[in-house]
Symmetry: C2
Subunit: 407 residues, 2 copies
């Protein structure tokens, strides 16, 4: 993704340092600090097993009613399945960060990503914080340092920006994320190893911010999958510094709509970047499932197809084996009649109301599927339910990456 | 699997011929004929999309109230997603087989396995039936010819036999099956591309036979998964010729129990053979999930682990990444507390009540996981619910096999 050179939201500073947590020796601690306590809204993983920073982050958000001054992220270790000690480690991180960034410990939001079940070396993390503080800056280089330090198996930094202007005011958004494997987010009413951080200088209360975040996440991060593995650490956090001076409850409706559109675009760009950089990915596939009784049914079918190893391996070789798509739809648990189903791949109809399309040309479809990105549209009839779901192929490279992770 | 040289059930004859449906040119039509109409019970796939032979087989079973004289199976083409013509093709097969095997068309049970969405060349199939009839025989060679002809991506023939004897009587069971990919059976109250055929010479009514089949299938074929792809054609059919003269409703309870045990053993052996021959499989893993409120909850978690690409790829390299197992359990949708969870791999405890086991020795676990077969036990607490689920790793070879299927 090209880094968009727009102005950054005011009221935040970013930095990244090397704490020695990543085996690679790269930057692995990222810090964002708001000049004043920012309004915050968060969605965490719905996994039953959550990492210690998720537990502590949730608790802090409740205690402060959605106010965050400092965000401290480490990559290389998920601090998950680490028992009571893991909680202590997250608390120690908040405590030390509070001292350094001059705020109450509960205004610190901790995040971790990386291997599960290995104790996080908290001393390395906290020892790196003073260095991080000395580097804090509100400029593109610092923001991108932040976005780079949170990466694990990602091959590319993932950022997206937006800027809304009218005659007298401007509001800015900066978003970044990480995630390439263990991607099947199900982010809930308060979602994790996809980490998404959104920053804006809009002035808005936490409850209003939350109301903006949920639909934007549902249509983006909750509608993507690399491997269907919903992580224990997935987190989407949005912080609003208020430093633009633009108050959400005072601006015109048209400005509000524009802000929502831009927030959605930033989320969509980041979600697309996650799939595009998915582990071993060679094809990005949009599943456009329509004609079901409701959106939920459409999403259940989209996920069943997106998680089918047989569909995903066929996509890896541009194999027009649409029978596998129909089969994966069929075992999703949603009732439908095959004779109402029509499938197009890259705009070419392959299956028409229960039968192979009369003009089916395998070579033509194969050619369409050789593109890096294309859409598979599956229509089930006349219902209003629809889901647009972004996924990818399953390749030999994915197996290599994940068979060599920790040993 | 070693072929067990036991006597075959009386009252059946088997044959296999080459009809030119498989591109390989191997035997691809398998026929079994009962001397008199046999009692029959069947479980089909729960996929919403079912192959034409499933539709016709279900209809025939209803019409005859569970009586089957001839079973006609073709491999190489699933006759699925083939529209009204596919139904006609299955009906034509039954009609022609009825003429040749001298029975009503609805006493013919059709089965197909292979590629989806390509018209089945019915003329090739029916033209091969006279040759099949001339080869019918009640001997091991013929039964194994049958078991070989139904294979698609299978690398091994899968058969299992049992024989029960007491002073005055004997009852025999012969079972065979095919299936290596698209294996995630969910066989319902009337299940497909796993095909299982069980033959016995017990004298038993169809309703009683059905009552024996369901629990045997639930603990075997419904508790295995290669890739989680529930096929459109999965079928488990049992036929009872009665030719032993042993009547189910007259034998002692102990004989009934022994029959059930042997039927279960045959089903278990065949189910194991499917996983052992799964596409690209290098490790066979038994998931022993316990301590949940009920068996259903245990099976939901077992399936979530069995279908996790991250777990499966870790197993392929004997990687003791138990964090992925815990994570996959966590997103299954079943509530539990991580602090109650204990995980052992190959008998070695790795996770103990919410934390890495104090004596965790990664090298020792890695060694256990280098065995071709081992058990991963995940205990969630004190509940009575349990599931033993058989699955396998995800390898580079699986991707190669399925990325090269039809193109």
């Amino acid at each position: 993704m090209p880094s968009i050179r727009k102005e950054l939201p005011r009221g935040f500073r970013w930095a990244a340092v090397k704490a020695g947590i990543k085996a690679s020796g790269r930057t692995d601690v990222a810090v964002a600090v708001a000049d004043r306590a920012a309004s915050a809204a968060v969605m965490f993983t719905k996994n039953q097993v959550v990492a210690a920073p998720v537990t502590v982050g949730r608790r802090n958000m409740a205690a402060t009613q959605g106010r965050v001054r400092a965000l401290v992220v480490n990559a290389g270790n998920a601090n998950c399945a680490t028992g009571p000690q893991g909680i202590q480690v997250a608390e120690q991180t908040c405590g030390r960060a509070g001292e350094i960034f001059d705020c109450p410990a509960d205004q610190v939001f901790p995040s971790s990503t990386g291997i599960i079940g290995v104790p996080l070396p908290v001393e390395k993390l906290t020892a790196a914080l003073p260095n991080a503080q000395s580097r804090l800056a509100n400029n593109q280089a610092a923001a991108e340092d932040f976005a780079t330090a949170i990466m694990t198996t990602d091959t590319k930094m993932k950022v997206s920006q937006a800027s809304l202007e009218d005659a007298e005011s401007s509001v800015r958004i900066f978003g970044c994320c990480k995630g390439a494997g263990m991607i099947g987010p199900q982010l809930g009413p308060p979602h994790a190893t996809m980490l998404v951080y959104l920053f804006t200088d809009l002035h808005i209360e936490p409850a209003d911010l939350r109301a903006l975040l949920e639909p934007a996440v549902e249509a983006s991060f909750n509608s993507i999958s690399v491997d269907g593995d919903t992580s224990t650490n997935d987190t989407v956090l949005i912080l609003a510094s208020g430093a633009s001076g633009v108050r959400w409850d005072s601006v015109q409706r048209s400005f509000q709509d524009e802000f929502c559109n831009e927030l959605q675009r930033v989320c969509n760009e980041l979600a697309h970047a996650v799939i595009d950089d998915g582990e071993g990915v060679t094809h990005v596939v949009t599943l456009d499932v329509s004609g079901l009784p409701d959106d939920t049914a459409a999403k259940i079918i989209a996920k069943s197809i997106a998680h089918s190893p047989l569909c995903k391996t066929a996509w890896s070789s541009a194999d027009p084996n649409w029978g596998r798509i129909l089969c994966a739809a069929g075992y999703a648990g949603v009732p439908f009649a095959a004779e109402n189903v029509t499938i197009t791949i890259g705009g070419v109809r392959v299956f028409d109301h229960g039968m192979r399309d009369a003009g089916y040309d395998e070579a033509a479809v194969h050619e369409k599927m050789q593109q890096r990105e294309y859409t598979i549209a599956i229509d089930f009839g006349s219902g209003p339910g629809r889901s647009k779901f972004l996924t990818c192929d399953l390749t030999v490279e994915y197996v290599h990456i994940n068979a060599d992770y920790s040993t």
